[in-house]
């Protein structure tokens, strides 16, 4: 397993263009879209448009690195820690992280406070 760390300037996203390789022991079985032709064909050439379909708009200066998971080595994306979660416990952060963020098709959104206002 190779962990790919996102930074303010680099966003990683994982695909298996040839079939459906995916880190089962960590993320479970892959969603249908991960195995589908639209995702496998496009994310390797135009990842920005794919992320946009997941509601993820990255700043234009963020580099997108694509990892084609074609061997038995599996990848997991380590998403950026969202603002407003400094000092949070592992359990609190685990409740916030999403499967898609660990594939790389999205980021982890900032937490929503009790009054429904996002931390910015």
């Amino acid at each position: 397993m190779v962990v790919l760390q996102n930074t303010p300037t680099v966003h990683n996203v994982v695909v298996c263009t040839l079939c459906s390789c995916y880190p089962w022991p960590v993320l479970g079985l892959p969603p249908v879209w991960y195995k589908s032709a639209p995702y496998r064909s496009r994310v390797v050439i135009d990842p920005r448009s794919v992320l946009a379909e997941f509601g993820c708009e990255l700043a234009p200066d963020v580099q997108i690195k694509v990892w084609d998971s074609n061997s038995e080595l599996r990848y997991l994306v380590l998403p950026m820690q969202p603002e407003g979660t400094e000092g949070w416990s592992e359990d609190e952060l685990a409740a916030l992280v999403t499967r898609d963020a660990m594939i790389g098709t999205n980021v982890v959104p900032p937490p929503v406070t009790a009054d429904g206002v996002k931390h910015e």
């Binding site: 879209w33 639209p38 496009r42 050439i45 135009d46 997108i64 690195k65 084609d68 038995e72 499967r99």
Partner: protein, 224 residues
């Protein structure tokens, strides 16, 4: 094998249909097809590369119009028949016509979860040194084998840089049709431009390449 499974860079497949993340199997039969495939794989009559080779060799229209578990199921049926585990008549009727192949035994339900967690380890003992090192420029080969390969069409005859060396691993191109033939495995990073020219939003694409996929780049060739 050049076929429609090798779809990296194709542009006509439309928007991504994002399914409900809380649903693992969308049809009841998919759960069974998955369990059957995983369980029968443990009988040891074929390996993961052999299974992939059969899925990839399905006719293009069948591959593209099938759901993913239907691809698995169609390929599994071909493998069951080609290895003699099941006859066409048994598949058609759903009834066993005789005893199973002697000496062939798949894992039981109790043992399967642990087997699933182990996956299919591909690392093998190292018996010679690696030809390439981290930071070195390499060019992928131009090759069109009619058999299984993990070198996608979009990434053939392209120059990249070695960014990781993973030891020796089963070589799928050979393992799908015979002995493992372990080879050194590298991660190679290609710039988006090297692969797609200006028509890309990827800054780089990283691919794992077994040593037979790679050639050294002569520096003199890069000065033009």
């Amino acid at each position: 094998m050049n076929n429609v499974h090798d779809m990296g860079g194709m542009q006509g497949y439309g928007p991504i249909e994002i399914d409900d993340p809380s649903v693992v199997f969308h049809e009841k039969w998919e759960r069974k097809a998955f369990a059957l495939s995983v369980a029968i794989n443990t009988a040891g009559l074929w390996n993961i590369d052999g299974s992939r080779a059969v899925r990839e060799s399905l006719p293009p229209l069948q591959y593209l119009s099938n759901s993913y578990y239907q691809i698995w199921l169609d390929a599994l049926q071909k493998q069951l028949i080609s290895t003699g585990m099941v006859t066409q008549q048994e598949l058609s009727t759903g009834k066993a016509q005789g005893p199973g192949l002697p000496g062939v035994k798949a894992l039981g339900v109790e043992q399967l979860p642990a087997a699933l967690m182990r996956g299919w380890p591909s690392a093998r003992a190292t018996d010679h040194g690696a030809r390439f090192q981290i930071g070195q420029q390499v060019r992928t080969i131009e090759a069109h084998p009619k058999t299984h390969t993990r070198l996608p069409a979009y990434c053939r005859d392209k120059v990249g840089v070695i960014t990781n060396v993973h030891g020796m691993h089963v070589f799928p191109d050979k393992s799908a049709i015979g002995p493992d033939d372990p080879q050194w495995l590298y991660t190679v990073e290609f710039t988006g431009c090297e692969i797609w020219g200006a028509d890309t939003s990827a800054s780089s694409i990283s691919l794992n390449c077994w040593e037979p996929y790679l050639k050294a780049v002569e520096l003199a060739n890069d000065t033009n």
